[in-house]
């Protein structure tokens, strides 16, 4: 199983470099300028600077994006916690630095349960898909670093997808799949169903994770976009564990099936 994932990783890496070459399939660089007739009037160097500037301003600009898709309090029968799931990117249309973070901290004084940060190189490989590779570091429950390979984008029928595979420094292979959709009830009142599923290729005792499907979080969030960039929301989420993970939770005295009520802010800029 692990070998299969390694092979897939290698195959995707090859694909990426091939698509990089395909993208660079442009005329070989030559000393010839793209156009130069104004040089005769205003000087070669002056026009060269102006030409560089105007071309850079025609599609080579970098853009910056921050999204906190979820920044919310979660209330269940057992506990109250603060959950965040956000990302940021910086770069041009094709190449970006992509940061993702997800975590949960207790509002009952039990400290931070999970906190992870991913730093990825993201490359646009098709109109709707980005291939991403980089590292993830878990600060909680205990420090652990992973290699990451992810495919993020927009699937047909407007599903936002983020599928990631993680290989930890200890050799454990896990995966996460996130999908969300938006129903416009009005132009500003938006219902967002969202699902997150976690998988593991092996039993990881120290993380109380079984092999196979570990967990599914399925949520429904209703937000109101006062402005597009800032929308408070309320919602409900079903959080269930499966297989070995379910057993670990039961043994620890926890409830592997929970319904949580959420309230928070979705923001981007």
């Amino acid at each position: 199983m692990r070998k299969v994932m390694f092979a897939a990783l290698a195959a995707i890496a090859v694909t990426t470099s091939a698509s990089a070459q395909a993208h660079d399939d442009q005329p070989p660089s030559s000393s010839e300028k793209p156009w130069s007739q104004a040089d005769a009037y205003y000087g070669k160097e002056t026009m060269a600077d102006a030409r560089r500037a105007v071309q850079a301003g025609g599609g080579a600009q970098n853009s910056f994006y921050v999204l906190f898709n979820q920044l919310e309090a979660q209330f269940s029968d057992e506990s109250e916690s603060l959950y965040w799931n956000g990302q940021a990117s910086w770069g041009d249309d094709i190449n970006k630095l992509w940061i993702k973070s997800e975590g949960r901290t207790s509002l009952n004084g039990d400290g931070t349960e999970d906190a992870e940060l991913q730093a990825l190189y993201s490359r646009a490989i098709s109109p709707y898909w980005n291939l991403q590779a980089g590292v993830r570091h878990d600060f909680e429950p205990h420090g652990l670093t992973h290699g990451v390979l992810a495919l993020q984008g927009l699937a047909p029928y407007w599903f936002e997808i983020d599928a990631s595979a993680f290989l930890s420094e200890k050799g454990d292979l896990t995966a996460r799949f996130e999908a969300e959709y938006e129903f416009l009830l009005t132009q500003r009142l938006i219902l967002q169903p969202r699902i997150e599923a976690n998988f593991s290729a092996q039993d990881i005792a120290e993380r109380e994770t079984g092999s196979g499907l570990n967990s599914i979080d399925a949520g429904l969030r209703l937000r109101y976009e006062f402005v597009r960039e800032l929308a408070p929301y309320v919602g409900v989420e079903w959080q269930s564990e499966f297989g070995g993970s379910r057993d670990y939770t039961r043994v620890a005295g926890g409830d592997p099936d929970q319904v949580v009520v959420v309230g928070g802010i979705r923001t981007w800029f």
Binding site: A22, H23, D25, Q26, P27, P28, S29, S30, E32, P34, W35, S36, Q37, A38, A40, Y41, Y42, G43, T46, M47, D49, A50, R51, R52, A53, V54, Q55, A56, G57, G58, G59, A60, Q61, S63, F64, Y65, D93, I94, A124, I125, S126, P127, Y128, L154, P156, Y157, W158, F183, L184, L185, T186, Q187, R188, L191, R228, E229, W268, F269
Partner: protein, 638 residues
């Protein structure tokens, strides 16, 4: 029965023939006869200052960048045949420029930074000087950054050296624009991060339920599924709309009610300029027919209509002849119908015409995606697009061969027949910047524009336009250059042939004196007003030797249209979509007209055409000679 409209048409013709009202040129009349609310300057020398200044719109103060502290900039009146000098001083903290839109000027006076000159640095003055060789309604605007959005635009009227064939009693210039209190760079960033975030007219779940009730659940679901499968929105009519934009007429919102006054029975000439950054407008005057007499500064055979859609940068001159002592609403409605600007045409100053309600928002159709409903159903991916062998004049191209060729250097295939379509689709459909390729692009010249097909009144189409004068160059084109208008709305990437301006390594090359057919294929879901500097498009619309000649032509979604161009004026000329943020994202190129003595990059012997240089050129080449312009001094900066 002889309708009033027929009478109007008849009297217009009679007036033109006799020239009664045209005896006194408009510039010689007192300013109270027209152009109320917009200051003008005339003569041959002008001083323009580009600076930041506050403006008040709908009671709210905003920060404009514009000309001589006015929004829009002052109306410049030139006279055909004179040489004008314009000293443009930059009082901004950033570079600026002025481009004379539609004016045939020596290219080094055309005002495009990085293409025709270096731009105007802060604190510097640039002296533009050029002979005025045409007449009609034009405009001027910044070609630097996003300054157009901030108010850096103004109208130009050029009085003809000979008698104006258009007779009128008074005239108004109407500069349409889209104002935002949001910084344009912020607007662009929002589009980049979330391309639909400025659209507040998307289809909702209640829309679905209503459509399901009207059209049946399964049909409605199928419709939604088709759009969803393509990840496209039928409400993607404008990238930016109200409430981000406040629409203006001569700097006045609807509430500020720009006023035009007429005496019943007068013929009033309205010179309408779309100086928006991003907004196509539907223009109408309910209850008052309009006779269109000019488009893009060149006279056309008068045609009466009730409404027309106007691309950004296009101009239309219309004659209206209100006979009743009543007010009329001049309505400029944004193409997405999110907002409008309304001015009043009334018999006395200070009147307010009833403002019509915004009309229902139209939706795009499968036709706008470039495919029939039928072909859509069986479509599993873009590779399965229908063959185009049924379309005349198309040869089956070897896609793979073209895909391997350098894209920007390719242009048309010089070895093919002159009416070929040099298909570049094989390489186009790859890459993140191209989301869609119109499988079945078609001519849409006989359609009035998105959302106007079902109006109960007359709507203008490009196919109706005929030049008043015979075309100056009646040669057939010697070769065809095919250009795809390409985009990925989701990433907000816009380009020609999938290549952004930042990636261009070679301009499109024309040789001086040659006649080129430029065929534009719109692979996107939006209409694009395409503008080529330095030469006019002869729109191939069945007009024979009376094709309308335009500086800006709107290419509808999935439309394929052709324009013929005479490459008369040597120079590097900007070629771009006039939607500001599309240009900013990369939908721009340069057309280089190389001196005829230069060797073209491609071998033209295969074309089977000699350059017919003996053909009489419509323009006097000496006028365009650079040394004759007094611009042999290379340094114009003070």
């Amino acid at each position: 029965m002889l309708s009033r409209r027929h009478l109007l048409h008849y009297t217009l013709g009679a007036g033109a023939a006799l020239g009664v009202a045209g005896m006194l040129p408009a510039w010689a009349r007192s300013s109270s006869d027209g152009n109320l609310g917009i200051t003008s300057a005339s003569g041959t020398a002008f001083d323009l200052e580009i600076a930041e200044f506050p403006v008040r719109i709908n009671g709210k103060t905003g920060k404009a960048v514009g000309i001589n502290g006015q929004l829009p900039g002052p109306l410049l009146r030139f006279r055909e045949g004179e040489t004008v000098t314009l000293n443009v001083t930059n009082k901004l903290q950033e570079d600026t420029s002025v481009h004379w839109h539609g004016l045939l000027v020596p290219f080094q006076m055309d005002g495009v930074p990085g293409v025709t000159f270096p731009g105007i640095k802060p604190g510097k003055t640039f002296r533009y000087q050029f002979p005025v060789r045409q007449n009609g309604t034009y405009w001027y605007h910044s070609h630097s950054g996003l300054q157009e959005q901030l108010g850096h635009y103004g109208p130009i009227i050029i009085e003809p050296s000979e008698r104006d064939p258009i007779a009128y009693d008074r005239e108004y210039v109407l500069v349409l624009s889209d104002w935002s209190f949001t910084d344009p760079h912020r607007i662009y960033a929002k589009l980049k991060n979330n391309a639909e975030s400025l659209n507040f007219q998307r289809r909702t779940l209640p829309d679905f339920l209503r459509d399901a009730a009207n059209n049946g659940f399964s049909d409605t679901l199928e419709d939604r599924a088709m759009w969803g499968k393509m990840r496209m929105s039928p409400r993607d009519l404008a990238d930016v709309g109200a409430p981000t934009y406040t629409y203006l007429i001569n700097g006045h919102s609807t509430a500020e009610n720009f006023n035009m006054v007429f005496q019943p029975g007068e013929r009033v000439r309205l010179r309408i300029i779309n100086a928006s950054a991003m907004s196509l407008f539907n223009v109408r005057i309910p209850g008052l027919p309009m006779t269109v007499v000019q488009s893009d500064g060149l006279n056309i055979q008068p045609i009466e209509t009730d409404e027309f859609q106007m691309g950004v940068a296009e101009t239309y001159d219309v004659i209206v002849a209100p006979e009743d002592d009543q007010t009329y609403a001049f309505v400029a409605e944004s193409i997405d119908r999110s907002g409008q600007a309304v001015a009043t045409l009334g018999p006395r100053p200070g009147l307010r015409a009833a403002v019509p309600d915004l009309r229902p928002v139209p939706s795009l159709t499968m036709k706008d995606m470039g495919m029939s409903h039928k072909s859509m159903a069986g479509m599993s991916d873009m590779e399965n697009r229908p063959t185009m062998s049924d379309m005349s004049g198309m040869s089956s191209m070897d896609h793979m061969t073209h895909g391997d060729m350098p894209r920007t250097a390719m242009g048309p295939d010089p070895h093919g027949p002159p009416t070929q379509l040099a298909s570049v689709e094989a390489s186009l459909k790859k890459g993140p910047g191209v989301a869609n390729i119109a499988a079945m692009p078609s001519s849409r010249l006989d359609e009035p524009g998105i959302g106007l097909s079902d109006q109960p009144h007359r709507t203008l189409t490009y196919s109706q336009l005929r030049s008043l004068e015979p075309n100056p160059d009646s040669r057939s084109p010697q070769r065809e250059v095919v250009i795809h208008l390409t985009s990925n709305m989701e990433r907000y990437m816009w380009s020609f042939d999938g290549v952004k301006f930042s990636e261009v390594t070679q301009s499109i090359r024309f040789r001086e004196g040659e006649r080129v057919r430029l065929t534009l294929i719109n692979d996107t879901m939006m209409p694009h007003p395409i503008h080529l500097h330095g030469m006019f498009f002869d729109l191939v619309n069945g007009g024979g030797d009376h094709k309308p000649r335009k500086h800006t032509v709107v290419v509808k979604p999935a439309e394929k249209l052709s324009v013929d161009v005479s490459a008369e004026h040597v120079g590097d000329w900007a070629f771009h979509c006039h939607l500001l943020y599309h240009m900013h994202a990369g939908m721009m190129q340069v057309v280089s007209v190389l001196p005829s003595t230069d060797k073209m990059p491609m071998d033209h012997d295969m074309m089977g055409h000699d350059m017919p240089m003996e053909h009489e050129m419509p323009m006097d080449h000496d006028m365009m000679d650079h040394s004759a312009m007094g611009h042999d001094k290379p340094e114009e900066m003070k």
